[in-house]
Amino acid sequence: MLKKIAYGGSGRAVLAILLLMASAAPAGAADQVVDFDRQIDFSAVRTFSMHGSAIHSDRPEIRSTLVVDGVAASIRAALVSHGLREVADNADVSVDWSAGGQRFTINEWGNAIPLDEEPGGMPVPRGNPWRNNPESFVDGLLVVDLTRSGQLVWRGVYRSREQSSGNLAHQLPDYARRLLASYPPRRR
């Protein structure tokens, strides 16, 4: 919101730019990274099979067969669009994926307090006064792995901040689509 002291008409456009700049300051924007085995010729990978999936969240919006099916369908569609074919056995690569969301609440001083116990992270103590606060935002995560003979050959990790667990559940298939847009990796 902009409070006007006195009106200077010619400043409107510049002020609009200023507000745009202020709002463009990064606030947990979506980000992704892809790593791959430099020894693998991905152009020779022709077939895939869907292997395993995991949801690391106890939120019913996310821990749902609808989400599992949606993400799996998105991965399938992306790989097929890159020329791969799904097979039941003897695939060139197996696809595993996992998704999760770390929920946060914001306390009265503006601190972000994690509401979930992260694997390997610090649990939320029982006596934590914000433990039962409502979620303010969720840091969403999707990991897609391609393995060959049990060895990881491609991993994509997508993280983004969502307003709620429900939003994250709806966005996860899109995370998969964006991650696999960078498949196959370009050799440098």
Binding site: G11, F36, G110, R155, V157
Partner: protein, 184 residues
């Protein structure tokens, strides 16, 4: 009408602030054993490093591969050759990361800054939580007997795990650009 200079200067300042808020916060340190003639070191080998992270974008063999490739390329660029055994220098690395949480507040901004002139006030904002990840990469160069010859430490604070993962191999390259130490 507001003079252009009254608008452009605060605009530039705000832009710089917004850029600075999103900019990488890196720091590094290099130390080395005195009395060593680093020019005599001609070959190196890399040992498997230690990675203490539960982030999937960092805790995997492909990330290790990328980091080790970057270290090897940096040392080759400094004139050393990679050897399988009997190397003059043994390279080990370790990496750890921790999540950092802080609170940002933005004070109201008056444009132009002088209170008597016509203009606008952009209200302050916050408190706003800002989450980031701070990673610490340590690269050690030991001699064949295990004595530490050179240590580089790079701290990189990023807004996201993927960004930290992407930047670490470049961080390693920049760290090793300071090898060998300049003689004084």
């Amino acid at each position: 009408m507001i003079a252009a200079r009254h608008i452009l200067l605060p605009a530039a300042l705000l832009g710089a602030l917004a850029w600075a808020a999103g900019a990488r916060a890196d720091s590094h340190d290099v130390s080395y054993a005195p009395g060593i003639d680093f020019r005599l070191l001609k070959t190196f080998s890399i040992r498997a490093g230690q990675i203490a992270s539960d982030k999937p974008e960092i805790d995997n063999r492909l990330f290790r591969q990328r980091l080790e490739d970057s270290i090897a390329a940096a040392l080759r660029a400094r004139g050393l050759q990679q050897a399988t055994d009997g190397a003059d220098v043994i390279v080990t690395y370790s990496f750890g990361e921790t999540d950092v949480s802080k609170v940002e507040r933005l004070a109201p901004t008056r444009i132009p800054p002088s209170s008597g002139a016509r203009g606008f006030v952009i209200p302050g904002s916050g408190p706003t939580p800002v989450l980031s990840t701070e990673g610490t990469l340590v690269v050690d160069l030991d001699d064949a007997h295990g004595a530490l010859l050179w240590r580089g430490t790079w701290r990189d604070q990023e807004k996201s795990g993927p960004r930290l993962s992407r930047n670490l191999s470049e961080d390693a390259r920049k760290l090793l650009a300071e090898f060998p130490p300049k003689r004084r």
